[in-house]
Every structure is written in C-alpha cells, then in structure tokens.
Symmetry: C2
C-alpha cells in the first residue's frame, strides 16, 4: 500500500514537473511571438484588425471610417453586389467602365497586409514643417528616387522634386510655374485625344498669364506657335495608351509631361524619361488614388521655385499624413528586389487586355487601339500591350454615339468627345476590381455575340 | 531517513504544484491582456511604439518618417536644443516666435496616446470615391457637426460642408466661388491688420473674376463699395485676437469669415457664429497643422457647389488619409463630455498670456493689445483673454522697426507691415511648445529688465 501510495505520489510529481515544462516553453514561445508587448498602440491595432476581419463575401470591404451598425462595420459592396455581406449579385447591374479608379491593385496590398500597415501616433507630425522647415519629407523623396531607379522610367539626376496632392494639383502648379514670369500670354494646348482635365482645370484657374487654347495638332498645322506655348504631353496617352512626344517645338514652347501611366504596369519603358517637367502620381503606381499624392521632377530652378510657391499658397504643402502613408507604401514597393508590384500589375493588365482583345477581334462593329510590341528597359525584352484603357471605336456608319450604343448593352464608358475626339470613340477603364472587369468582359461578350454574322463565342 | 526523503518529496510536489498554479494564472492574465491576438497589424504597432519609446530628454521627438542612424530613429530636437538626445540647451539661441505652429497642443495628444492612435491598413480607402462616390467622408462630417454643437461656436443647421486642405485652400476656394458667377470684377479686401495670405494668395491666383484691392477700412472710408466686393473677416483676428464683424455692408458685399481661432482655446464665444461662409481648420482646434485639413460651412447652394468644383479641379478632394486621421482626432475630442481639449487649451493659453502680460506691464517701452473680459457661451461665464498671439507695439518714438528692436534682444517675431500695419508692431506667437514659450518669456524679461527706470524683475 505504501509502495502504491509512493508510486502515485511519484506520478503526480512527474506530471506536475511536465506541466511546468510545458508552461515554461509556452511562455517563452509566446514571449518570442509577441516580441514586444504592446501598450498604447494595442487598441488601434486591434480595432483595425477587427474591422478588417468582417467578411464581405470577397465582394466588398469594411473601413475604419465607414458606417457602423450595432457596433459592427457595414460592408461597402463592390459594384453590382449587395446585401449585408455583399453576397448578392445584381444581375441587371450596369458594367461601369467610366472611371480610372485603380482598384486592380487592391489584392496586392491585401497580400502585403503586414508590411503595408501603418500605425500613426496621435502626436505624429503636428507641425507645419519638417525638421528642415520644409513641407516635403526628405525620406519620402529618397524613396521616390529609388523607385524611379528600379523601374528605370525616369532620369532623376539633376532634377528638383515637388510634391503635390495628386498629379491633378501638379498639372495646375506647372502651368502657373511656366507662365508666371512670361511677358506674353501663355497658350496651353494638348494633342487630341487628351485628358479632359487639362482643359477644364486650365479654364477654371485661368489668369492673365495663361489660357487654354485647344488642340496642339491644330496649332501645329496652323504654324501658329509663336509666343509662349505650354503643351501637355501625356505619355502613355490617356485614353489610348500610346507613347507620345511633344507635338510642338521651339524655344518658347514648354512641355509638361504627364507620366501618370509611364510604369511597367501599363506600357513598355523604352528609355527613362528625361524631360524638363515630368509628373507622376501614386494613384497609378500603387493604386492609392484616394491618398492624393503625386510628384514632379523639374529641371529648371525657377520653374521649381514657382511650383513650390504654388504649393505654399494653395495649401502649405501636402498633408503629412499623406506623405507618411506614401512612404509606407513605397517601402513595400521597394522590398526585395523592388520589382514585385510591377510584375503583379503588368500581368494583371496584360491578361485583361488580352481578354478584351480576343472578344473584340471577333467583332465586325468595334475596333480597339493597336499598340505594337516594343522593347522594355524594365523587363529587358520585347513586350506586348497592357494599357489602362480600351479606346473603343464604333465602326458602323450609324453608330455615331458609341457610348449610347454601349449603354444599350448595359455598359457605361466615357464619351470620346470629352477627350476632344469623335463620339465614335468610348474610353473603357481596365483599372477597376476583378468584379468590375469580369462584368465588363461579360457584357462585351454578350454585345459582340449578338452581332449578325459574328462567330458565336 | 525515509521520513525525511518523504518530506523532501512532498515539498517538491507542493512547490511544483504552486508553480503550476502560477503559470496557469499568468497565462490566463496574459490572455486577458492580449484580449485579441494581433496578426498582420503587430509589426506596424510594434514599430510605432519602438520609435516613440526613444528618449529625447523631453526636448525632442522621434518620428516614423524621420532620419534613422544605425537602425535607430534620430531625435528631432525642439528649438534651441541639440545633441543626440536633445539634452543640450543652446544658450545663445534665438527665441523664434514668428510662426503660428500650434504645438502647444502636443502634450494633450501624448496624454491621449491610446485613444488617438490609428492603424491604417495597406488597402484602406484606395478609391477616388467613398461609397456615395463623393470625396468627403460622411462620418467625418457628422463628427465635425458634433464638435460645433459642443463648443457652441457655430450654427451648422441649414449649412453645407466643404472639406479643404487646411483653411488655406478654402480661403481661395471661397474667393473663386463668390466671384465665378459675377458679371463684374470682384474686389477682395480685408481690414488691417490682416493675415498676409489673403493678399499673397489672392494676388497669385488672380483671375478675370477677382482681384485683391487692399484695406477694407480704406474702402469703407472712400464709400467705394459698389460692385461685387468680397471681404475677408477674421474673428478673432490674426494678429490681435479681437472679435470682429464685417466692415462693409451691402447687397453686393460677400463676407468670408475666417474662424480659424474661434474656439474656446483663444477667445470667449459670445454666440455661435452664423455667417454665410465660415471657415475652420483642424490646425487650431487639435493642433494638427501638418495634416492640412479644414472645412467650410456654407449657406448658399451655388457657392457650395462652386467650392466643390474648386476642390474637384484643384485636387479631386482632400486626401482620404488626412480625413481618416482627422476622424480619429475628433473621436478623441468628443470623448467623455467633449470638453476636455477646450479646457486644456484655454488654460494653457490663458496662463501664457498672463505671464506675458505681467512682464510687459512692467515696461515703459512696449504695450500689448487689450482684450476685455467677455461672456463666453462655452464656459458659461465671463472670461479673460487667451489669444494665439501677442500684438506687441514699440512705443518709443525712435523704435520705428519693432522687429529689429526685438531682434537685438534675440527674439524673432513677425513684422507688422506684413499685416498691412505699422512696423511699430510685431506679432509674437504664443502657440508653440513650452520650450519655445519659456525661452520667449525669458528673453522678454531680459529685454524689459534692461529698460532704464523700469522695475527690476
């Protein structure tokens, strides 16, 4: 009996010691995982994760600043989806391909959740100025230069950097900067088809120093480019995705190169751009259109100082919150060999273009732009097209308003005349979410399949 | 011997079981503390805490986007402090009271570290538009309305809200909006002394629809206010902190009320402001000048739509990162009874004014503005002054350039002539950090104590 008691006792002791060893290693591991015990940041981090953990069936997102119902965030559904968890597809919903909202990049950021998250302390960057009293983050500038170095899409050496709230703001800043010191009125032009904002923005802000004149091609043909001329050159162009150079030449002609789409995502990079004024936007690099962040590379010091003056008087520099976010995003872009986002984006856009091309190739009524294969400095090989937009043309004589034709097929595009082109053209965005693109593709298939004589799909 | 062995054995077992109990309760507690195990947000939260944990001797801060040395963030030192941990005071350093940088509120946010922290996911708000396709957060709008309701400083009912990148951008947007549809040129005025940006900004952006004319008081005296007139009314005024009404009246006169400082921090609130165009900024409410966020309350729908058009063409709406940050800050402002920040700010500004007043009262050469006690709707009592700036006057006949006099005493202020006033005046900022204010106070004491005949301090 005593021996049995002793045996039980021994068993208890061994079991207890084993339990201790288990607890000890568990604590050590937990301590390793929670390398640093969080304190004041715990609540914010937990809240962000809680909001993001709500399921929207893969067809919606919840946001920290969205609506809440009974303390739970409400799903903001993708186009054509509805219901509390965005699980209902709305079959008669229109395929809206109007906007250049670059949400095709959303999955990239969801895949990089950990590295792209950012925790902002309540006291972070309250001041009007950085340590050097400027309104531009030096660290962010360095990251931008590195991104250009890796993508090989722009010469940055010997250029000044200016930040703006999107390329939108920098377009205006550049027009002001190039016309301020001029004795004569600067006439602002762009070669059709061109991005509508060049005209609407320049008209709205028209001063005694500049005015929007119209089509650069018309000006070229009329040989009337004397006096100060400012030409917007979009390369690759919006809407047709073709690489461009300035149409006008001369000592009194200044070009503003809008390189929003000059990334491997959307075009071959034959050589790094090396113009006097080059504008880029994070909207079309990382997809963060809502952040309102862009930058200009400027060669001339006077133009640079004028653009800084514009930014100072317009809004005292770009938000520090925006600059911090941009920095975090570019850190992720530069991770590893810094090439991942370009591969992700290019493959997605290329596949979308190929899908659309295939459908349209079966049509007798519609054509799309032809973008020839070209050598790319980034991929170091000849590559095919992957433009941001389809520039669709209605070829049938009676289809003078192509947007109306598509509207009949439950597709919304952007009218050609908005780009100073014919209404036979419609711009269709390839930039949006998979849900948007898939519906667009489906509707186009339907449209083409209804053509008499076209091969059935 | 056997009994002793048995005793040891028992001791081991009891000890082991005690250890079991310890580990068990420890794990349960750790599980309670880490209510939710973090995953993808852990890195960002840990990084933010690590950066913030670096000591800068209470005279500097480290930032996520600051410089790093050997993997450690570098302290950005407050004015007049230096060294790797900002522990060296630089005794001959100038007291710089030029800028209205509202860093006096920094300690408030450090005290509210947990509630004011914000974790932004990489995929957060990438789109150009919110769910309603607008560029203005509905949730943020609601919070702004609540803040006005608690501070009782503005009637919001029946008004439209417009967001801008700081009040700076909204000043310009309002001028455009009020002059766009006018048949005649709108002349823009402000009553001296006035905030310099009204002139510099309006001159820079001058269109065919408006031009800066000058002093509203001159226009009043010359009875020349026919035709479209736009008057900037700053209340309380910058630089002198006095409450103001429009100087000009008439059906063709439109006033833009710049209420940047119309908070209990800086002035009595005799009644909620109820003007047709009222502009506020988060810079002077929470102190987040770097965020570039402001809002306008607008009565007239056409003016409102014009301001929206301005925001659309200028930059496609305010950054979503900025709006998210502003929302988090206003959530903290509204915590509890929503009155804490007003008490914090008022007491700090009041104490600073009393300190300055006391010094200057001993001087025969310098005077400051007189702000009479006034009933305040927020504090529900008569209260004294707590303005953002000292509007110092050099009274001695030979001191025609007051800024130069102060410069001789190692103080930098802002020249009176910049405000369209005499150079006998200097504006001294009371808005900066304790380090800045303490040095300003010290230098002023020195200056006044050197006056012949003045009481020694």
């Amino acid at each position: 009996m005593a021996k049995f008691k002793g045996f039980l006792f021994g068993l208890f002791l061994v079991g207890s010691i084993a339990l201790n060893i288990f607890f000890l290693t568990n604590n050590l591991y937990a301590g390793y995982v929670n390398k640093q015990q969080l304190s004041w940041s715990q609540r914010a981090a937990a809240e962000a994760e809680a909001v993001a953990s709500v399921s929207c069936s893969g067809h919606g997102i919840t946001y920290l600043d969205g609506l809440f119902l009974d303390g739970k965030p409400v799903c903001e559904c993708n186009s054509c989806y509805g219901g509390p968890t965005c699980s209902h597809f709305l079959p008669d919903c229109v395929a809206n391909a109007d906007s250049g909202d670059p949400l095709f990049l959303e999955p990239f950021w969801m895949q990089h959740a950990e590295s792209s998250a950012l925790l902002v302390a309540g006291w972070h960057r309250m001041s009007y100025g950085f340590a050097d009293q400027s309104s531009m983050s030096q660290v962010l500038q360095n990251h931008i230069l590195k991104v250009h170095s890796i993508s090989r899409n722009a010469i940055t050496k010997g250029k000044y950097l200016v930040f703006g709230a999107g390329s939108t703001q920098l377009l205006s800043a550049a027009v002001f900067a190039l016309s301020l010191n001029s004795s004569s009125l600067a006439r602002v032009v762009a070669a059709s088809p061109y991005y509508p904002v060049y005209k609407t923005q320049t008209d709205f802000f028209e001063t005694a120093h500049f005015e929007f004149q119209g089509d650069a091609l018309l000006m070229k043909r009329s040989s009337n480019s004397t006096g100060n001329v400012i030409e917007f050159v979009t390369s690759p162009n919006n809407p047709d995705g073709l690489l461009r150079k300035a149409v006008l030449q001369g000592s009194s002609v200044n070009a503003i190169y809008d390189h929003a789409y000059y990334w491997p995502h959307f075009t071959a990079i034959p050589a790094p751009a090396d113009e006097d004024v080059m504008i880029f936007t994070i909207s079309k690099l990382t997809g963060h259109a809502g952040s309102r962040f862009g930058w200009a590379l400027v060669k001339d010091e006077v133009v640079y100082l004028n653009m800084l003056k514009y930014m100072q008087l317009a809004e005292l520099g770009v938000s520090r919150d925006t600059q911090l976010r941009a920095l975090q995003l570019l850190k992720v872009v530069l991770e590893g060999d810094g090439r991942e986002i370009f591969h992700f984006a290019y493959e997605k856009m290329r596949d979308r273009w190929e899908n659309i091309s295939q459908i349209v190739s079966l049509s007798k009524r519609y054509t799309i732009q032809d973008i020839p294969p070209q050598y790319c400095n980034f991929f170091e090989k000849v590559r095919g097209p992957s433009p941001a937009y389809v520039w669709l043309k209605c070829e049938r004589e009676e289809d003078t308003n192509c947007n109306a034709v598509l509207r009949g097929a439950n597709i919304i595009g952007r009218l050609g005349s908005l780009f100073n082109a014919s209404d036979r053209y419609v711009r269709l965005s390839l930039l949006k979410r998979d849900d948007d693109f898939n519906l667009l593709l489906y509707r186009l298939k339907e449209l083409v399949s209804k053509e008499g004589g076209a091969e059935t799909l």
